[in-house]
């Protein structure tokens, strides 16, 4: 019988299947960070359980860590210390702050070659969907499930549905992967993928680099999906070859043979399919407080009364929170801060794109602009290319790796009422700090906006 990519990877990992029960699935890689794991390790301690497979478990510190030279506040330091202590006690490898491999969990695992086609990967973070860019089935879990995976290396899961999002054609030159996913979410909504794994297909997806595919799969959760995936291809294999944890020698050849079979069969059908013409996409800017509330940069803030009935009330609420008036042109909206970072858009390619825009220019006076590389390796690579100089010369702060202003857990937060152009993934109320206002954009738009002081494209500068 023909099956889809996600179904194939699922079936390969069924440890136990029984009528009337969800499947018991094996987990190939469990990624752990300081914020959602302490209660899980405490649970193991209380029940005198151990970590079953420390060799398939990797920890780092990302959500709560300072990204400058300031020490962490006491309560954060306590959590960071708990991560280090738990890793020691349970024999789990951890890349702590200060380690050259430290960084955002969803940036470091692909970068190290740990994320590979056909694997199952879980992490106590909803953006685990990122890893699907390499053909892995990867999803976010809660703390109780973390404890379960630590103790058993398995997870009890109901089989998700399948969804194909096919992006055909060629993306306009000023659009990035971020615009593709914002465009998809604008179309299918914040619950458009609920209960399903989205497979991104089509010529425009194939044409993207792995880094672009990571950006797209990252935001699958913003469409409510359990996971997002792209079938592995030669781009994937070329990207993986030679990475520290990628197979070597004969094992590489064996792996390649297997990975080529990790794809949707020709006759397979999906529970839901949509097709998007890439040439119709434009750079997107969110105006509201969920990632589906967006318009193109050429557009204006919508009038809630002109929206479908079920979207009006939340649009009115969002505009009150964002302090925006219907009809305001997007390019006329001024910002107080620009954040280039997060597991969505803080890889080397993102920093290169942004640096090209800011090279030789200056950040608008009075505006706070931050670049927070996704990992210390990304930071080192960028510095080798001199990107740090370009950003610093333009007036950006150049930071150490972490989640930083994406979720406002460390001191990098917006002040109440501040407006930010952000390359992150969520524009929820208060996400970047209580009272802060977030607009999601691509690295290119973020960079141009930092220079112009209002939403802009490089061509506007």
């Amino acid at each position: 019988m023909s099956s889809t990519l996600s179904e194939k990877v699922w079936e390969r990992h069924v440890v136990r299947r029984a009528a009337g029960e969800p499947d018991l699935l094996y987990v190939d890689l469990h990624l752990v960070h300081e914020v959602t794991s302490p209660q899980a390790f405490e649970g193991l301690r209380l029940s005198k359980r151990r970590v079953r497979r420390p060799d398939l478990t990797l920890a780092t510190m990302d959500h709560n860590v300072p990204t400058n030279d300031e020490p962490a506040e006491d309560i954060s330091a306590r959590q960071i210390e708990a991560m280090a202590r738990n890793a020691r006690e349970f024999g789990v490898r951890c890349y702590p702050t200060g380690d050259p491999n430290q960084g955002i969990v969803h940036v470091i695992s692909p970068q190290l070659g740990l994320t590979q086609p056909g694997m199952t990967i879980v992490c106590g973070d909803s953006h685990t969907s990122t890893h699907g860019a390499l053909g892995a089935l990867a999803w976010g879990i809660g703390t109780s499930e973390i404890e379960h995976v630590l103790a058993t290396q398995t997870i009890v899961q109901t089989k998700p549905g399948t969804m194909a999002v096919t992006v055909e054609g060629v993306l306009p030159a000023d659009c990035a992967a971020k615009d593709v996913i914002l465009g998809i979410i604008a179309r299918i909504g914040t619950a458009g993928g609920t209960g399903k794994v989205i497979e991104y297909r089509g010529a425009a997806i194939r044409a993207l680099s792995i880094e672009g595919r990571l950006t797209i799969c990252n935001m699958s959760i913003e469409a409510g999906a359990r996971a997002g995936m792209v079938a592995p291809d030669d781009v994937t294999f070329a990207w993986l070859e030679g990475r520290p944890f990628a197979p070597k020698g004969a094992l590489w050849e064996n792996a390649l043979d297997d990975w080529r079979s990790v794809a949707t069969d020709a006759g397979a059908s999906f529970d839901r399919e949509i097709t998007i013409d890439a040439s119709t996409l434009r750079p997107y800017v969110t105006w509201g407080t969920n990632p589906a509330q967006s318009v193109t940069i050429d557009g204006a803030v919508p009038d809630p009364d002109a929206l479908p009935a079920d979207a009006r009330e939340s649009a009115r609420r969002a505009l009150r929170y964002q302090e925006l008036l219907p009809g305001t042109r997007v390019r006329d909206i001024a910002v107080d801060a620009v954040f280039i970072g997060s597991c969505t858009n803080a890889r080397l390619e993102d920093l290169r794109l942004a640096s090209e825009v800011v090279r030789g220019r200056k950040v608008r006076s009075g505006l706070r602009a931050l670049v927070v590389p996704g990992s210390m390796r990304v930071k080192a690579d960028a510095e080798r290319e001199g990107l740090d100089r370009i950003f610093r010369d333009a007036g950006f702060e150049w930071r150490d790796a972490g989640c930083s202003m994406c979720l406002g857990m460390n001191p990098d937060v917006l002040r109440p009422g501040e407006r930010c152009a952000s390359t992150s993934n969520r524009n929820f109320e208060g996400r970047q700090g209580p009272g802060g206002r977030t607009h999601l954009v691509s690295p290119t738009v973020a960079a141009a906006t930092a220079i112009a002081g209002h939403f802009a494209l490089p061509a506007d500068l």
């Binding site: 094996y26 959602t36 909803s126 976010g140 879990i141 499930e145 109901t158 409510g224 929820f428």
Partner: protein, 195 residues
């Protein structure tokens, strides 16, 4: 976890769609390393508005939260469920509930109830008209009952048993140790190991 069979009580009407977990419990509360101590963080930002429904004394002691579609979307933070539980909630009723939240809820004895939008609207109207309206969520029957309304909801057998018996799911899985070991013996050689 304690068994959850019946949730009977008053309900809090939260008439908003896409209530995300950043609203349920803002991120700065996630710096704690304990499973408790989250009640004060529940809807922290919205609570600053005196007219927010959680500040309405008539709904004090509500056990059931009724909300709009896509409740619990966003982050995987189980802290959102812990904050609701600690604040006395034992069930959430909404037209749709986000996947990770739903799974976290079941693990903590917070019953996730998805009903047709129309039924949710009627419950909201009833509770707004009379804060004393008593609603019963019956896990064994998979039904919701309120004056003038009876509806059933979907809950897979496995998760129903889980709630009814308050099971330790790790102990359940560890009974399948032989299956896990057999699977491990056949994993591909090239798969990565971090140590």
């Amino acid at each position: 976890m304690e068994p959850t069979r019946l949730v009977t009580g008053r309900a809090l009407p939260l008439e908003r769609a896409n209530v995300d977990t950043d609203q349920i419990i803002p991120s700065h509360w996630l710096k704690r390393i304990e499973r408790t101590g989250y009640a004060l963080g529940l809807f922290e930002a919205w609570r600053k508005d005196p007219s927010f429904v959680l500040n309405d004394d008539r709904y004090r002691g509500a056990k059931i939260l009724i909300a709009g579609a896509n409740f619990g979307c966003g982050s995987s933070r189980e802290h959102a469920v812990w904050a609701l539980r600690e604040s006395g909630f034992r069930a959430v009723i909404a037209p749709t509930i986000a996947d990770i939240f739903k799974s976290n809820a079941i693990k903590n004895g917070l019953v996730p109830v998805e009903l047709e939008s129309d039924a949710v609207s009627r419950l909201l109207a009833a509770v707004k008209a009379d804060a004393g309206t008593t609603i019963t969520v019956d896990v064994a029957q998979r039904t919701v009952a309120a004056p003038g309304l009876e509806a059933s909801f979907a809950l897979a057998d496995f998760f129903q048993t889980y709630l009814l018996e308050g099971l330790d799911d790790i102990a359940l899985t560890l009974r399948h140790e032989r299956d896990i070991a057999a699977f491990e013996a056949n994993r591909a050689e090239w798969l990565p190991r971090v140590r």
